[in-house]
Amino acid sequence: MTAADILMVIAVFCIWSLLLVNVVLIIAGYWYYMKCEREPEQTLTGDAPFVSVMVPAHNEAKVIVATVESLLAFDYPQGRYEIIVINDNSSDDSAARLARLQEKHAGRNLIVLNTDSVTGGKGKSNALNIGFRHSRGELIAIYDADNTPERKALPYLVSELLRDDSLGAAIGKFRTRNRSASLLTRFINIETLSFQWMAQAGRWMLFKLCTIPGTNFIVRKNILEEIGGWDVKALAEDTEISFRIYQMGYRIKFQPKSVTWEQEPQTLPVWFKQRARWAKGNIYVIVKNIPLLFDRRGKAIRFDLVYFLSIYFLLLTSLIMSDTLLVLHALGLVYTTIAGFSSLLWTLAVVLFIVGTFITLTTEKGELSLSNLWLIALMYVTYCQLWLAVAAYGLYVYLKDKVRKRETKWYKTERY
């Protein structure tokens, strides 16, 4: 038995354990889907609460008009919600476009806050805090600048919060608007669907846990006031705020009927930078909240902490470690005496991945197709392997910035 053997055993155990956890989440998530389908459609009863819909935007001229138009079209009493666009330090003609939009919809509660490098330009969290200070609503809804939510997206979210006081926030579903643009966007489309139905729905079904996805979600204003708004140092401000909501004793529910459509990266470099930012941001949040693992106050988020720790640290390091050991063993640089892996087992695991992912696609119209099945198989050997690089790079950048004590830097995702 060599040191390499022990490392390999640990790595294999971690990988397979997480695989089984995800299987459980898929089953739970699908169960939740079927449950939601059986539920009658929720309609708003009584007075509609005033909602502040905030849209942080930085150089979003290409997409912001369509986004605001969609927000203005919500099936929600027009006088009972405002739209606050935080045009944060934009150097394009976003301000002009938004101004024209305001003129066009003069009677609507459309507020545009333009900031510059002094008053703004410090990232999404800071922009949201600026908008928050101007908000009047008792509920705060957030949409990214490239989103075009469906008309009923907001009412669904509001009705969820109204029905359950234990909820601190409710999240909807996001879909890929440009999913046919490239092979990458098709992969992203599958990924986002399976993630939401597995990770979000599954966790909600089992543990009453969800994580705010950064867009198409609604949160009670008093909670935001209590936690002091968004953490400007957090790149993954959505994950960060989710943890804080849970710590306050509230829950976050997944409402799949609330749907928004957003633009996803169409090229690999843009995608890589975006995902690496997310990875780095999530790592920041996890590290920040690790002490809560052993604290009674962290009870509500313990599963999420462990889950994210497992994904970003355990799984990542296990995959890197096992792949590295296999390569070194093949090169004859490391000697392992470990019993051989069962190729049947690995084949079954791949089949499981494909089938499990495909199941989540049955929830959406037009996604149950043979081409998607092949895409999932292709994803396994391409897109999914890239995530290893994304996570590893995110971890590397996080550590580098930590060591060098560099400030958080926001990267703007390119729009089309």
Partner: protein, 523 residues
């Protein structure tokens, strides 16, 4: 005192006179120790006589006679002590070289021992002793009858050859030229002088020469005919090997399997299957011969390891109840490798069969052929050259043991056709293990006597069924110690079970989901 000495001398002298002709068959270390000197002028490459020198060497080896090969040109350069030899065989293949080799001719004229001349133009002082008159035939084919053979092919093409028109002494065989109906003896002998005007390689001619040699050398004993299959490897069609043994057994024909040796991976299942079939053959009237290895650095077999490798193979056979009673070798390989081959690779055996090399030119590069003789040797002959002409109706004594040699058939139909021919020929094939033979390594002694096979003195039982308990999980490579094997085995089973169960559940979800999808989106 003087009277006693004279009487002792007389008794000794009479005893010597009455003694049978000395048998030359002996395990001598050198051909010079009472053996035969074989000199030739040319190997006759590219002519109809090509291979006759090699055939003579094989004949002498089959008869257990030590022989030294010398080209006449080299003899004229280096000379030799002819007195060290009991007999000289001179092969004259090239008429244009008749007048050369004066030194040899001079030494020969003073040679007191036995002389056998092969080819035309026997030296005059020998020819006079035989009162020999020769003639030359016309350009026509010739047939040979000798011993059990009737009109076998001798010279298929139209060629002129020297024949014995008139001579004293005993005649051997009969040559017939059908076109002219001319007849002449194949060879003649009187005392220690023999003459064979035309000798070529070929089973019929070799058998005729064996008759001459036996009497010329004063050998005793009766030869037998054996059936021998060679070119048997571990990767031969083992089912066909067993079937052939079955078929021959049913036809009542004993046989010899000359099997190629295996020097590596002796524990592999392929080797076990090989030995199982050989055991089956042995139990069905078969006898085993081992094949001599091909000495070659490329083949991984070199002289310095030959003895060990041969012993290794033989020991494995012995330990599995298999008794190889002789060795078969390609004649060219045998001559090329000389003493090292005979003394190391073939040392455990006392019986040998040499197969014609097919490359007589090899003799040009041979120094002294291996002089080790074997107690029991066989002359390898071809069925198609003897079988069709063999008259088995009358029993005839043979001068040498014959091994009717077949290459192992490729297909069953070929085998069955051959066995049918053998059966219909009524040839009295003998069982080799009926004789006394022994193969000995440092660890084991394998022997036969009166049909009983023994290993280290213990009789082996002949099992008639071929069942091999070959381990299907045989590890061909040593995997070395593996860590966490049990853990991974348990873990693998656990995860496979979980995954299969999940897949089943996913299948149910898919079915439900598809119905839901159809009702929701496709109505």
């Amino acid at each position: 005192m003087k009277r006693i000495s004279a009487a002792a001398l007389a008794i000794t002298f009479v005893g010597l006179l009455l003694a049978k002709p000395a048998m030359l068959r002996a395990d001598t270390a050198s051909g010079r120790d009472g053996g035969v000197l074989l000199v030739y002028d040319s190997l006759a490459l590219g002519t109809t006589m090509e291979g006759n020198v090699e055939a003579l060497l094989r004949l002498l080896a089959a008869m257990g006679v030590p022989a030294t090969l010398r080209q006449m040109e080299r003899y004229d350069e280096d000379g030799d002590d002819l007195g060290a030899y009991k007999g000289i065989i001179a092969v004259r293949n090239d008429p244009e070289l008749q007048s050369g080799y004066t030194r040899f001719a001079a030494d020969l004229s003073r040679f007191p021992g036995m002389y056998l001349h092969v080819g035309p133009d026997m030296p005059a002082f020998f020819a006079d002793q035989l009162r020999l008159e020769t003639a030359i035939s016309g350009p026509e084919s010739a047939r040979l009858s000798v011993g059990p053979l009737r009109l076998a092919n001798f010279a298929a093409g139209a060629e002129r050859m020297t024949y014995i028109a008139k001579a004293s002494g005993k005649a051997y065989g009969e040559l017939l030229w059908p076109g002219s109906e001319r007849k002449a003896p194949f060879g003649i002998r009187e005392g220690g002088i023999g003459f064979v005007p035309a000798f070529r390689s070929g089973s019929a001619s070799e058998l005729a020469m064996a008759y001459v040699l036996k009497d010329w050398l004063g050998l005793s004993g009766e030869g037998k005919v054996y059936l021998l299959y060679k070119d048997i490897y571990p990767f031969s069609d083992l089912a066909l090997l067993a079937k052939t043994a079955d078929t021959l057994y049913s036809a009542g024909i004993p046989f010899i399997y000359a099997v190629q040796p295996v020097y590596m991976n002796l524990g592999f299942p392929a080797m076990q299957r090989y030995m199982a079939v050989l055991e089956y053959a042995q139990a069905h009237n078969g006898t085993l011969f081992a094949g001599a290895p091909v000495l070659s650095p490329v083949a991984g077999i070199q002289r310095d390891t030959l003895k060990e490798k041969t012993a290794l193979f033989l020991n494995v056979l012995a330990e599995n109840g298999l008794v190889p009673l002789g060795v078969g070798a390609d004649a060219g390989l045998y001559w090329s490798n000389g003493a090292s081959f005979a003394e190391t690779g073939m040392e455990p055996f006392n019986a040998m069969v040499l197969y014609p090399s097919g490359n007589p030119a090899l003799l040009m590069h041979v120094g002294e052929p291996a002089c080790r003789t074997f107690a029991d040797s066989l002359l390898s002959v071809r069925w198609d050259e003897l079988g069709p002409y063999w008259d088995a109706r009358k029993p005839v004594s043979l001068p040498v043991d014959l091994a009717m040699t077949f290459g192992f058939p490729a297909v069953e139909a070929e085998m069955e056709g051959a066995v049918r021919e053998l059966r219909d020929s009524w040839l009295p094939f003998a069982d080799y293990k009926a004789g006394r033979h022994e193969t000995r390594t440092a660890e084991h002694a394998m022997a036969s006597s009166d049909g009983i096979l023994t290993v280290d003195g213990r009789q082996i039982s002949l099992r008639g069924n071929v069942s091999v308990d070959v381990d299907l999980e045989y590890q061909y490579r040593d995997l070395g110690q593996r860590s966490f094997e049990r853990l991974f085995t348990v873990q693998n089973y656990f995860y496979m079970t979980m995954i299969v169960a999940s897949l089943v559940l996913f299948g149910v979800l898919m079915a439900v989901g598809y119905r839901l999808y159809k009702s929701k989106f496709l109505k």
